[in-house]
């Protein structure tokens, strides 16, 4: 068995609500290697954030619970750990960067104190040393004037600067893995470019592994080595970023790519949306969840979930079209269905 830093296996997470039980994550498997960036991409409600929360042990229970599956981090099984055991992993070996830097920070606490809160808990350090550490972290994430900034409150920082503080908090304990849940979604594009650059730099400097949760295929192409495409609680495609963009294998991935306008195009082309909406996860379909929106859906698709087919190394897609018994794609196109 390969020695992955993080291994998520057949993860299932359900939430109880007044309307019934939502099956938010329905058997998700992927891994992250040391020093790599993995993007988890998908639309709202596909289960990407819940997966991130499960890794961090942040699923609120009740209403949520991990129904099945296992998460291993650095050779330890972290699903089922006690709260106390989790503390040695969460915030220490795994850092988290949240989407909205305003709500992720405590407005009544100086940023310096927030940055070293976890560090002070795990290391026996004096006040003086803690302050020094906080300034060092501010410098690391590119905040000018750390001597002054360390004693300021979050409202004195702009959105981009606040996100840098959140990143400093995640990195303060020198983690092996950082999980970033839509870290640039709340930011403007020019600020987003700054933050993506920072993450890339930090990764090289610190040999970090990053799990980047995002809905933006542009961000995936910019920063990730590999990607996992999720839809309706399952992984539909995974592989190296170059393979997924050059040669996507799942009809949902095709659909996502075609619904984006090309910024470098010279002629106006009509967008090709994916018609319909994602399925209701209170009553998930027993077959492929994308089948009702899929141009190529066959009878089997609605009956049974497809197994993953492997193409090149590590490039997999779960789609019946790649079953040896399926009709050739060319024949379906000839029969009037569009790619």
């Amino acid at each position: 068995m390969a020695d992955h830093l993080l291994q998520v296996e057949n993860l299932r997470v359900h939430f109880k609500t007044y309307g019934g039980e939502v099956q938010a994550v329905r058997g998700v498997t992927f891994h992250v290697d040391r020093g790599e960036t993995l993007a988890v991409v998908g639309e709202s409600g596909c289960g990407k954030s819940v997966t991130a929360q499960a890794i961090m042990g942040l699923i609120p229970n009740p209403p949520g619970r991990i129904v099945d599956g296992q998460i291993r981090f650095d050779r330890k099984v972290i699903t089922g750990m006690s709260k106390k055991e989790l503390l040695s992993v969460r915030g220490a070996e795994i850092g988290m960067v949240f989407q909205d830097p305003m709500t992720a920070l405590n407005p009544t606490m100086k940023v310096g104190a927030q940055i070293v809160e976890g560090f002070v808990r795990t290391h026996q350090v004096s006040k003086e040393e803690a302050r020094k550490k906080a300034m060092e972290m501010l410098r690391l994430v590119g905040i000018p004037d750390p001597e002054k900034r360390v004693d300021q409150y979050p409202h004195e920082f702009s959105g981009g600067m606040r996100q840098r503080v959140v990143i400093a908090i995640a990195l303060a304990n020198n983690p092996k893995l950082v999980i970033a849940d839509e870290p640039t979604t709340a930011l403007d594009v020019t600020i987003q470019a700054q933050i993506l650059d920072l993450l890339r730099e930090l990764q090289e400097q610190q040999q970090l592994s990053i799990v980047m949760i995002t809905h933006d295929l542009g961000v995936v192409a910019e920063i990730a080595h590999r990607a996992v495409v999720m839809y309706a609680g399952i992984v539909v495609e995974t592989g190296k970023v170059e393979d997924i963009f050059a040669n996507p294998k799942h009809p949902y991935t095709w659909g996502l790519m075609r619904s984006l306008p090309r910024i470098d195009g010279v002629e106006k082309e009509r967008l090709v949306p994916i018609e319909g909406t994602p399925p209701d996860l209170f009553h998930p379909p027993k077959g492929c969840p994308f089948a009702p929106r899929c141009q190529f859906a066959m009878e089997i698709c609605e009956q049974q979930m497809p197994d993953a087919s492997t193409f090149t190394e590590g490039h997999q897609a779960a789609c019946w079209l790649h079953d040896p018994r399926a009709p050739k794609l060319e024949e379906l196109v000839a029969a009037g269905r569009q790619t």
Binding site: Q194, F245, L256, E275
Partner: protein
């Protein structure tokens, strides 16, 4: 030359925010929108693009300058003329959750404009059903409430409401930002079809530059209350003149890992519009700033045919 539907001349919208401080949200903007075209408006949060849209539709009174709609000063209209203006100009909002009254049925939401303008006599229900079908919903949806719909469907309801009074000009303020990628394309296609069929004119405000380029005939770029550049959309993307436009375009993440670009990373953050820099407002972050930029406000001028820019580099 196509005919101007809207002419904005040196429009200003200032807010007094206490302690004698004035926030210049929109500060002297001049442009025209031609009949049947889509003018895209881009810029980062706080640049004044939404305030500009809201001032144009008279949700805000102007501080100075004017908005001419069909050659009439929109902010001076009274009585019947004002009523007609509010019919001719409609708005689609960003958040379809917040812009639909949760206690009204879809029928009442869409027909509200019809009722106000006295257009609903007799055929109210038929008209609403027709509008629902026009935006890709079905007539059975009329008696439901907003919470029963998905985000994309709610945005369709917002569009149907705007269309109910048969406007000529629609201001769409970030109409797709709250929607998922696969749903965004559905709504953009709908807006394009409606424009074709009904000869609508759009002001499309957004921060997603690739979508703006896709939908717009021309694009204006705003920064800190000023228009810094305006050109045909393909021209703007191929030959951006203003250093801010260049940086903005180079920051867009392109969904193609094989493209490696030289990115212009802007230093620092947007200054507060309540305390804008002297001279050119962009100079504090501009990689090409010169001495002159602090002293003088650059003029809004035509640097190439139909390509307007406000920058000392081109004067």
């Amino acid at each position: 030359m196509s005919q101007a539907l809207v002419e904005v001349k040196n429009l200003k919208k200032h807010f007094e925010i206490g302690n004698g401080v004035t926030l210049k949200a929109v500060d002297g903007v001049t442009f025209t929108i031609n009949r049947g075209e889509t003018l895209g408006l881009v810029g980062e949060s706080g640049c004044g693009k939404s305030t500009l849209g809201r001032t144009m539709i008279r949700l805000y009174e102007n501080t100075d300058g004017e908005v001419l709609f069909k050659s009439k000063n929109a902010h001076r209209l009274k009585g019947k003329d004002a009523e007609q203006f509010h019919r001719d100009v409609q708005m689609i909002f960003q958040d379809p959750q917040a812009s639909l009254n949760p206690r009204m049925t879809v029928m009442d939401i869409i027909a509200e404009g019809l009722d106000i303008h006295g257009l609903s006599r007799g055929a109210r229900a038929d008209r609403v059903k027709e509008l629902l079908e026009l935006v890709g919903l079905s007539k059975e949806h009329a008696n439901r409430f907003p919470h029963e719909f998905s985000g994309g469907q709610r945005q369709r309801i917002g569009i149907a409401r705007a269309l109910a009074v048969e406007p000529e000009f629609i201001i769409a303020d970030e109409p797709i930002s709250a929607l998922d990628v696969s749903i965004q394309a559905q709504v953009v296609n709908l807006l394009e079809d409606l424009q074709q069929d009904r000869g609508l004119t759009y002001l499309f405000i957004a921060h997603d530059l690739s979508m703006v380029k896709h939908i717009s005939t021309r694009i204006g770029v705003m920064y800190l209350g000023k228009m810094v550049e305006m050109a045909n959309s393909f021209e703007l993307y191929a030959k951006p003149l203003h250093p801010y436009t260049q940086a903005l375009l180079s920051s867009i993440p392109i969904p193609d890992p094989t493209i490696k670009r030289e990115r212009i990373i802007l230093q620092g953050d947007l200054p507060s519009p309540a305390n804008a820099p002297s001279g050119c407002v962009f100079r504090t972050r501009c990689p090409k700033a010169m001495e002159q930029c602090a002293a003088q406000v650059p003029e809004w001028q035509e640097a190439a045919p139909n390509h307007w820019v406000a920058c000392h580099l081109y004067q």
